[in-house]
Symmetry: C2
Subunit: 456 residues, 2 copies
């Protein structure tokens, strides 16, 4: 393997030049709960890398990384590339009214669909793996099934969800949320930075925005939803475990707070007479951290900015706006942390002579992974000789939305240094091959296990 720098995007993609070395590299990462067997690979790791490299050129940003925003020309170009790959793989392609792309491979029985895939949009200056890995990996599973002449009982569908990241329209997991019925026509008039609406973009994707509700997936039509994704955290890499079995996608609650004090002259206002909204907000930021740290566990809490007004070096801030968010798999723990922060905020306001008011702006319930699918992913990894670790997903994913319709499972592979949403985002070719192989085996196993239950 060697590093190939793609100058136009500044992204490193490691082209696998010696595929024969790939599986040898697993020796270091096969761990305690799986036998050290040299298992044959069903998938073509080099083809996956080549597809990922091609995608990295779509939306590559001169200022660094990849900017392939959801509902933009770059995402549309990436979708077209995926459609071509799907058709090459013999899938019959349809695009729903939310722009989601589905590639279908019929099954031998009348059963609900096993759906798997991910997204192709990125954050601004994002990386090459968040989304593309799960999308290309899913297409590769179909190609590998074709190559092995495997006929499944369930119909299989590869999906590319539209606009998962969603920073510019203010709605994340857009395509999957429409499919799950949790987002509707109320978003059609939202505008991006150029003033184009969601509706405008859906028309460019070849869809009729008035038919958005038709993209809703009927309950009972899915047997399972499975998503392969990079971890976006450091846990797998640090534990040297190649496969993560996602216990669930954490719940997320986010508040926007405004701390109000009194703006005044920084030179003439005595320290004892100040009602400094920024000092209040600084203490509240630390209170959020303390409240999150007060319990054991993987819960997280973050304040990403403090916006002070008037915001001059020589004026005491009179108003500070800041968001804070809390995430955990356990909704009750989030509620406990929220109550603790609010109690601390009240104490701080009393001490500082300020007022802090917080309004909830996001409330996503935890989405638990289906235990049978988790067991299937563990089994798939074991048969491939790969160790697994159970862990939550701290990030939101399309699979979380679809878990409201069908049993859900997610497979994680290591993210180098835990970095994501940045040009430095990197997962090694070996880890990618592991993940796609485990996805292949998971789909095959699920087809057997879930097949006992036919549709009505």
């Amino acid at each position: 393997m060697r590093d190939v720098l793609i100058p136009r995007s500044g992204i490193h993609l490691r082209l696998v030049l010696a595929f024969s070395l790939l599986w040898a590299s697993f020796d270091g990462s096969v761990a305690a709960d799986g036998p050290h067997i040299a298992t044959a690979s069903h998938i073509d790791a080099g083809r996956v890398q080549a597809n990922l490299e091609h995608l990295a050129g779509i939306g590559s940003d001169p200022a660094g990384g990849i900017t392939r925003l959801g509902l933009s020309q770059a995402e549309l170009d990436a979708h077209k590339y995926a459609v071509d790959l799907m058709k090459d793989a013999g899938l019959s392609v349809r695009i729903d009214a939310a722009g989601n792309v589905f590639g279908r491979r019929e099954g031998s029985a009348k059963l609900p669909v096993i759906l798997f895939g991910s997204h192709l949009d990125s954050v601004p200056h994002g990386g090459a793996y968040d989304g593309p890995l799960g999308t290309i990996g899913a297409i590769e599973v179909i190609r590998a099934l074709n190559a092995a002449h495997v006929k499944t009982r369930h119909p299989l569908e590869v999906v590319v969800w539209t606009n998962e990241e969603g920073p510019h329209f203010g709605v994340s997991a857009f395509g999957s949320s429409v499919a799950a019925g949790s987002v509707g026509p109320e978003v059609l008039d939202r505008k991006d930075e150029q003033g184009e609406t969601v509706a405008d973009w859906l028309r460019r994707y070849g869809q009729d925005p008035g038919q958005l509700a038709s993209a809703r997936i009927a309950p009972g039509s899915l047997a399972a939803i499975v998503e392969l994704h990079i971890e976006q955290g450091p846990n797998l890499e640090e534990a040297k475990i190649p496969i993560g079995v996602v216990q669930g996608i954490v719940g997320l609650r986010r508040w926007k707070c405004v701390a109000t004090g009194t703006a005044n002259h920084a030179g003439t206002t005595p320290m004892t007479r100040r009602h400094d909204a920024l000092a209040t907000a600084a203490r509240e930021l630390l209170a959020v951290r303390d409240s999150v740290r007060a319990e054991d566990g993987r819960q997280v809490g973050t304040v990403g900015y403090l916006k002070a007004e008037p915001g001059a070096p020589n004026v005491i801030a009179g108003r500070v706006e800041f968001p804070y968010e809390l995430r955990d798999l356990d909704a009750a723990k989030i509620e406990r942390m929220y109550a603790a922060t609010q109690k601390r905020f009240a104490d701080i306001d009393r001490e500082e002579g300020t007022t802090t008011v917080c309004t909830e702006v996001n409330h996503i319930e935890p989405a638990l992974g289906d235990p049978r699918i988790q067991a299937t992913i563990r089994e798939a990894a074991r048969t491939a000789g790969l160790a697994t670790m159970d862990l939550p997903s701290g990030a939101v994913h399309d699979a979380g939305e679809i878990s409201r319709l069908a049993p859900m499972g997610m497979i994680f592979v290591p993210s180098h240094a835990g970095i994501s949403h940045a040009p430095q985002e990197f997962t090694s070719p070996g880890d990618i091959a592991n993940g796609v192989e485990v996805l292949y085996r998971t789909i095959v196993l699920l087809d057997k296990k879930l097949g006992a239950k036919p549709t009505a």
Copy 2:
């Protein structure tokens, strides 16, 4: 007295309709160190109020308060109004290359000039008193001397300094700094929000920017510099003392700091693996406050904003830029506080795994008031039956710059609720009349006291 609302500016100016009541109102504010005598007033308080009201209409801002930025058409209009008032008062007017306006009244002896005045520019959405009081008050002193047929031994000059506030060209006390020789032609190319340079504006003020250095005042040419100003703090009002004798203008040191951590995903990065630059900066803000509070005294320290990057609710901040400033009359105390903050910053960086680097961007030494002028102001107030309080100026003033050339004194009057640089800035007509009367008496006394020392 009744309140008159001037709708175009939203500023309250209290028009004095019954001047005979004015001095009666002093009973409440005459205090311990001055005799309770009913002293006749030399100045015309109604004329001062009328002039201030006229000025409040120049640059009144539809969005609130007065926006009469230094080196703008509004300031130029205000200067023209001052020139008219000066000429009406019999002063011979000259304008220097920095746009500063001087109105001269000859003395009977060959002595250096007693200079007094202030500025007419404001901050955006500022008030009606910061600057205009000292300017109109100085012109009123001349008118009162004329009315009383007082001939001074020293030549007297009323000054209107250009661009004292200076937010848009990034140089405060512009006119007085040029006069003191601490600012030179290097500022001529600085641009305002419309792209106009300092040089462009000086041309509109009728000056040749190439001659800027000619505005420097020759050492020895001034006997004293005196400035009447609103306190801009709450001390006088809270102590119910009508006259402040300024001990000096505090030194000001300001740093720009950058705290660098690691930007990362707020959902996937465990609490124990974070290097959150905003948590570091929040702790550093509180460390600045703690370091300032650690000693008794009037010193102040402020962090006016924390600018986080990337600044999204779901991303741990990787970089935070923030200013901090420390002010005190004692430069050694500022240095001690600075050392204490830097030690705390290093501890915080070590604990958080971050790096904070601070660069000094302003360093203004304290400017001490001349003890003889302070004594003269106290005497002037005492003869007028007004109590005084010694206090530092926490704000920067033109007189501080000129104190590098000549003995300096400042007279403060109360600011309602300590509010300044805001539309709510207010000083009562009684307090204004007190201040102008004390300025009158101070100038008359200084003329006698300083007159013993002729120029070479």
